[in-house]
Each structure stands twice: as structure tokens, then as C-alpha cells.
């Protein structure tokens, strides 16, 4: 499997990661491209210590951090986000609003684990935290989300 095929396998979830953390489809596309550009440069150094998915998301996260350093953690207005497919628009908007109300670190934890399905251990590796530290962050993020969204 060549690099392009590997990238294609992860293209959608990389885009979703940026879309759900920034809320801006244009920016998500741009940051997604930057992630794959850096992955091209870094592919030669990839030793297989982690899965390709974790490696790609670690790059994506660095791209995100660099972007926030340059421009600040400003989110785009909600109406720029593309509509979903499986839920009603009102519920969808409410979920997205609740997600946006969270701090960036909580939002990122939820996107990785509850949107993209990473295990806490994998997400901890992506973010560069210990598994326990990440579990605490995730626990708080979920509690915070429920508080904002009013679920359960």
C-alpha cells in the first residue's frame, strides 16, 4: 500500500478532526492538507512504534497547535458548519453548540474519543499525555459537555 492510499484511508477522519475542533470547513480542509504535507515529509522517519492512524493524528494535532499559535483559538460561526446526515438539524446544532462551548482541550478529547472512536490510550498518545492524565481530561470533558448540553 503506498502513501497516497494510506492517506486516503484516513482522509475523512482527519478532516472531521479539524472540522469539529475548528468549526470551519475551509480551515479544516487547509489544515488537513497541511497534515498530509507534513506526513509526506515525515514518512521516512516513521518507525512504526505507533499505528499509522495515531501517527497521522499526532501530526494533525501539531498542525492544529501551530495554527492556534498563529491565529488564536477562535472558532467560526456555527452556520458555516456543513449539515449532518443522521440526525435532525436542531439536535445536531445543539450538539455542535455544546461542543463549541467547551475549552479547546476538552473539545479535542471528545472529538478524538467520542466522535472518531479513539480509545483513551490512543488519544493520550496522540496528545502526548499519560493515559491516566488523559482519562481525567476526558472525564471532565464529558461532564462539562453534559452540563452544557443538558443530556441525561
Amino acid at each position: 500500500m503506498d502513501l497516497e492510499e494510506i492517506f486516503r484511508l484516513h482522509q475523512k477522519e482527519i478532516y472531521v478532526y479539524f472540522l469539529r475542533t475548528t468549526g470551519n470547513p475551509q480551515l479544516a480542509e487547509d489544515l488537513g492538507q497541511e497534515t498530509f504535507v507534513r506526513a509526506c515529509s515525515g514518512a521516512i522517519l516513521f518507525r512504526g512504534d505507533s499505528s499509522v492512524r495515531t501517527w497521522l493524528f499526532a501530526i494533525a494535532r501539531r498542525v492544529m497547535v501551530d495554527h492556534i499559535r498563529r491565529r488564536g483559538p477562535k472558532l467560526s460561526p456555527l452556520d458555516e458548519s456543513p449539515p449532518g446526515r443522521s440526525e435532525g438539524p436542531e439536535q445536531r446544532i445543539a450538539i455542535e453548540q455544546a461542543l463549541r462551548a467547551l475549552p479547546a482541550s476538552s473539545r479535542e478529547a471528545l472529538v478524538l474519543c467520542d466522535v472518531l472512536g479513539f480509545s483513551p490510550a490512543e488519544a493520550a498518545e496522540v496528545i502526548g499525555l499519560t493515559a491516566n492524565a488523559f482519562r481525567v481530561r476526558l472525564h471532565r470533558a464529558r461532564a462539562h459537555f453534559r452540563e452544557v448540553y443538558g443530556d441525561e
Binding site: Q11, V16, V37, S41, G84, R92, I95, D114, R142, R146
Partner: protein, 200 residues
């Protein structure tokens, strides 16, 4: 029944992953190729600039003799007769203006010998000195051996005639003799058939 707290259970946010993804990979690969190309070009330009600028600003200046030897020029082996000195113009060359920025120069390698047998005990020296008047920029005399020695001259482009005065000094102390043996070499670039592109 699960014994996990609500905050340990995943939130039902999977639907947020259900979205159309634009084509990112192809654009990323194009961007990567352009970036590699651009960096390669920048690197090549930087290497080229360093190659050109380093000798000009940081390189050791070449000795005139080496400069004349290395520069683009011609081997002449033209004989020039003075009153008591004979010389051979071994080489003429157009010099780079890297060494003296802003000055277009050419160089001559002259091998001079005295024709007077009485001068064998003495050492031949040149009295030529650089000046704006004669167009000469630098004069380097080589180590004398018996009756002859090497002289390397650089002059401003356009200098057609250079008169090179010589004298003989006694060997031990380098003092000019009471009745020094003197002579002048008259170097006319046109008469010597030095190509115009070298000296004009």
C-alpha cells in the same frame, strides 16, 4: 448493569463524524511537491549565491601571481628588449573584479633578466610602483635568482603602456649600487599583440 459512571461512558457524538470530506490528499500531495520544488530552488539559489559571494566577501584574497595564472588569458612568451634588461611576457590575463570590487583589471607575468654580465653578482629589482598616473594597481616581485626574476603586474583596464624601470642592487644588503645598472622596459600592449579583450 454497568458499574461505570455516566462520565466514563462515551457520548453519542458519532454522528458528528458523518460528514462529506473534500478531496484533501491529492491537493496535499500537490502542495508537497510544490514545496519540495520551491525549497530545492531556494537551496540551489542559496548555494549559488554562497558560491559567488563567499570568495568576494570572505575568501582569502589570491596572490597576484596565482590570480594571473588562474584567470582567463593567453600565454605570450613575447620578448621585450630594454636598454640593459630583457624580458619575456609570459602571460597576460583579464583579472576578475571580485578581488578589487569595481576595478576592471588585467595582469601581466613578466620574466626579466639583465643582459650585462657584470650584473651577475647583483640582484635585479623593479622600481615600478602602483599609481593612478601609470595605471598600475599592484606590483609583486618574485625572488630573484642570479640575473633574472619574476614580476607580476596588475593594471587598470585601458592602460596601454607600462614603463617598468629596473635597477640592480648589491646582494648582501639590498642597497642600490653607486653606479646602479638601470634600464626600463617599455611594455606596449598593442605592440605586444596582447588581445584587446584582456587589456582594453
Amino acid at each position: 448493569m454497568s458499574n461505570t459512571t455516566p462520565d466514563e461512558r462515551p457520548l453519542p457524538l458519532g454522528a458528528l463524524a458523518q460528514t462529506e470530506s473534500p478531496e484533501i490528499v491529492r491537493a496535499a500531495l500537490g502542495r508537497f511537491r510544490r514545496r519540495v520544488l520551491l525549497r530545492g530552488l531556494v537551496l540551489l539559489l542559496a548555494i549559488g549565491a554562497a558560491f559567488v559571494l563567499y570568495p568576494r566577501y570572505f575568501g582569502e584574497p589570491k596572490e597576484l601571481a596565482q590570480e594571473i595564472r588562474d584567470a582567463r588569458g593567453v600565454i605570450l612568451l613575447q620578448k621585450v628588449d630594454g636598454s640593459s634588461v630583457q624580458a619575456t611576457i609570459a602571460r597576460a590575463a583579464r583579472l576578475s573584479h571580485d578581488q578589487v570590487p569595481g576595478k576592471e583589471r588585467f595582469g601581466l607575468h613578466v620574466i626579466a633578466i639583465t643582459l650585462k654580465s657584470s650584473a651577475l653578482d647583483n640582484q635585479l629589482v623593479t622600481l615600478l610602483r602602483p599609481s593612478e598616473k601609470n595605471g598600475v594597481l599592484e606590483v609583486v616581485a618574485g625572488e630573484a635568482s642570479f640575473s633574472g626574476f619574476n614580476v607580476w603586474i596588475s593594471a587598470a583596464v585601458g592602460t596601454r603602456v607600462i614603463d617598468v624601470p629596473f635597477a640592480a642592487v648589491s646582494r648582501p644588503d639590498g642597497a642600490i649600487l653607486d653606479r646602479p645598472l638601470t634600464g626600463t622596459l617599455h611594455l606596449d600592449m598593442q605592440t605586444l599583440n596582447i588581445p584587446d579583450w584582456i587589456w582594453r
